[in-house]
Assembly symmetry: C2
């Protein structure tokens, strides 16, 4: 038998790394959706050990040697070259970190997440501060080490882990553009809303099992396949699992079905991206999704561009009434569309509308940059948070529960992640705009509950490409322009002032 080439030996190694990563993903899902509280300590240990094992397999000397040999050997096709590039990217980020730091981060994040679960409902930031300080200390250590290796500043080193190639200087420019636009625009939208008739809010209660049945109906229409996925409950909605076994979650508020439903539709956007990744490249770096902006671009394309549109409501309103067993003026498509397009500044990011959402992101983006740079101390975070909210949205949270304790991200070790939400909103706008221009049947299809034309375009232009191209290149190829705020701003103008 011929000895496998260096490239094929790398594929074997990365198949193993991917399997460990998939196992970690399932264990994370289980933690959030299934695990009893007494399992937390053991689970944290499992995740830390798997992360350390994964790290050790990735930074083993033979990986670097094999990558050099594979590059020198040549003869690779486009996908294989991109795969090798992604391997190198993963390796470069990992080799900067000692194994002990990797395991310590997982443990510190798990401890802090557990502390946060207790402190969040009480709004008790002081209770979680020591564990958060430990998390940030390790994150800064990792950021410095990765930054030194990659020639990036510490914050960019973190950002690059979620959004390969992104730099905070570019984000600053994009966000400055939006910030110049949004406050005025928000004022106009609120002014206009005042002059409109009241939206009728459907009266609850809506039993959780009916809400679930409604969600199942709509996500099956979108293409979610329960032979390859699950819908469960967790405190915070998320999409986890693996491409062939995608696990999305939501939580049900029996007084208000609208948030839960839209959360499920959002996660379905993530799920369908994962499902659409190139099957031939399962388990290889090039077969994985691009960064978080493209991922959030998929979820926001479904949630914001598609599911809050008049066309989608024309299809979905009768289904909602039928499955929830209601009828009347509140259940008219136009009322539901307006319900889902209401703009109102609020404290909570995950409840924010499309117009005020970027302000939430900008507050966090500035704060996390300052915290990582050491220019802000964690003890000063609550005050700095409240000041940011006051400045951008004119609101001061009544307690840290509605302030700096509301998101799990930082407590869970996700630093440098927040800006991708708003990059994702821009990405979603640009992609949907290009899709509609490419195929006139897309919008009509949505109105009939036929999403095939939309997913045909997304499949061909985004999902099936995996990580073949860098995100900015894929976006340019798919939409004809680099990422900017223009299409997003036009979308907002059309929807809220049109």
């Amino acid at each position: 038998m011929k000895k496998p080439s260096p490239y094929h030996r790398l594929e074997k190694r990365f198949r193993r790394l991917s399997a460990i990563g998939d196992a970690i993903a399932v264990l994370h899902w289980d933690w959030s959706a299934m695990m009893p509280p007494g399992g937390a300590e053991g689970r944290a240990g499992q995740l830390a050990e798997l992360a350390a094992v994964r790290h050790a397999l990735l930074v083993a000397p033979e990986v670097e040697e094999l990558m050099e040999a594979a590059r020198a050997g040549g003869g690779l096709d486009e996908w294989q070259r991109a795969n090798l590039g992604e391997m190198d990217r993963q390796w470069s980020r990992a080799v900067a970190l000692p194994e002990d730091l990797v395991a310590a981060m997982v443990r510190a994040q798990a401890a802090c997440e557990t502390a946060w679960r207790d402190a969040h409902p009480k709004g008790d930031f002081a209770a979680v501060l020591p564990s958060l300080e430990r998390v940030l200390e390790l994150v800064r250590e990792a950021a410095a080490a990765q930054g030194a290796r990659l020639g990036l500043g510490p914050y960019d080193a973190l950002l690059d882990g979620y959004e390969p190639g992104a730099r905070s200087a570019e984000i600053d420019t994009l966000f400055a553009d939006l910030e110049a636009f949004l406050p005025d625009f928000l004022g106009q939208v609120l002014e206009r809303q005042k002059g409109e008739p009241d939206v009728i809010v459907p009266d609850g209660p809506f039993p959780a099992e009916r809400q679930r049945a409604l969600a199942v109906r709509l996500i099956e229409a979108l293409g979610f396949d329960f032979d390859h996925g699950r819908l469960d409950e967790s405190r915070h909605p998320f999409c986890g699992g693996t491409p062939d076994d995608v696990r999305i979650t939501t939580r049900y508020d029996e007084d208000d079905f609208t948030k839960s439903l839209m959360a499920v539709l959002h996660e379905t956007g993530h799920a369908l991206y994962e499902r659409g990744l190139p099957k031939a490249w399962r388990g290889q770096p090039v077969g994985q999704a691009l960064g978080m902006s493209m991922h959030e671009g998929q979820s926001l394309l479904i949630e914001m561009q598609v599911c809050r549109s008049a066309q989608f409501m024309a299809f979905a309103a009768p289904v909602m009434g039928e499955v929830l067993g209601r009828s009347g003026p509140a259940w008219e498509a136009e009322n539901l569309r307006r319900l889902y397009a209401r703009v109102e500044p609020g404290f909570i990011r995950v409840d924010a509308d499309e117009v005020t959402y970027p302000a939430h992101v900008m507050v966090r983006y500035r704060l996390e940059k300052a915290l990582v740079a050491g220019e802000l101390k964690l003890a000063e975070l609550p005050a700095a948070w409240n000041e940011g909210m006051q400045r951008l949205l004119g609101l001061t949270p009544p307690s840290d529960r509605e302030g700096c304790l509301q998101d799990l991200h930082w407590y869970d070790g996700a630093w440098g992640y927040f800006p991708t939400y708003t990059l994702g909103a821009m990405t979603a706008s640009q992609l949907f705009d290009a899709a509609k221009r490419a195929d006139g049947a897309i919008v009509d299809g949505i109105g009939r509950g036929d999403f095939q034309p939309l997913f045909a375009w997304l499949g061909a232009n985004v999902h099936s490409k995996g990580a073949l191209l860098p995100a900015h290149e894929l976006l340019s190829q798919a939409t004809g322009r680099p990422l900017d705020a223009e299409v997003f701003k036009n979308h907002l103008r059309r929807r809220y002032l049109g």
Copy 2:
């Protein structure tokens, strides 16, 4: 900082191995209880890669070196010495196997399990034969390699993996003893049953959620802690997960609540053993359960010795009536006791009563010995199975669904496991007998739904000892006698002819 000793470096390594093992256990549970069918291929890959990683970490040269250094260094206490002994046992079994064989076995088992899930309902043995042949081929390869290393015959090498120290020659003797006893005894029991008034079978339907509520009530009374465990549904009841997050499953038949309930109580016996393992030794080999005979001894102690007793029924019958919303003669404790003590030869092992169960085990034990030895071909299995059933129970299965396809074990790679069920029944009898002699409050407690005295004894004499002693030594210390069939036979005589 002082360099960690060889022994402590081993503990660190085995903590990692244990964490990977725990992750595998959760992924297995998920497969059976949660995973959508489309996840099977990916999950098989995850399990194979984790098994290979675990194997590689266990057989790495430094483990052998560290074990030698730890032994030479001395200064270890009793638990540490036992821990080192268990490490050596795991290492010796693993080092006999090449990593590729380990991964190939996991993959072959997963493929065969998938084929079995399809073939079982159809009774189509031919459909699963090729994948089963692959499984047996690899099992025999592993058995030969491990046997050569451990100085055991191939079957004993497999058996030793489930029941350390057990040898088929001893099992032959124990089983011969039982086989000399059971046929006559069964005849007497059936004769006696004929002369008794009919048992009243409670009429269904019993909605699954009511059955679940009943199970929860009773297992909470036994001490099952939902902060450290779950109860879910799967095709076959099992106990999985980890000591601090024990996952038991059952399936509900809405026409008959009795089987599901007893299955949950059985798995609770396993679960409480896991929960009671010494907390200080979590993640170390000595902190794990003894072999399958002791594990099955715990589940059968709860199911057969405790929960089918008159005392338990006095406590449980009113709870059953209350939670299922029924009353009348069928729900009297004595009727339910007799219902749960009915003896009737049947085709299906998992539905068998206490008296006929050993016959099912003996059929499988002989067949698997012959198959591993190469004295029987898999193609001949259906006929050999039916012949064995005819000889021992006077029954011929109508199809392979009720015959050699009924159990997942062989298809899933568990060879050398079956005899531990009957060793477990003997173990359970001996332990319960000793417990009752040691503390007169145990039986009274059961009648009041107070299981604290029982678990105090089990905790002190079995659970908290982990793998400190070999199973036969622990049993001798706890009960004053080695494993034999006498106490079990006496128990059967008392219950069925007393």
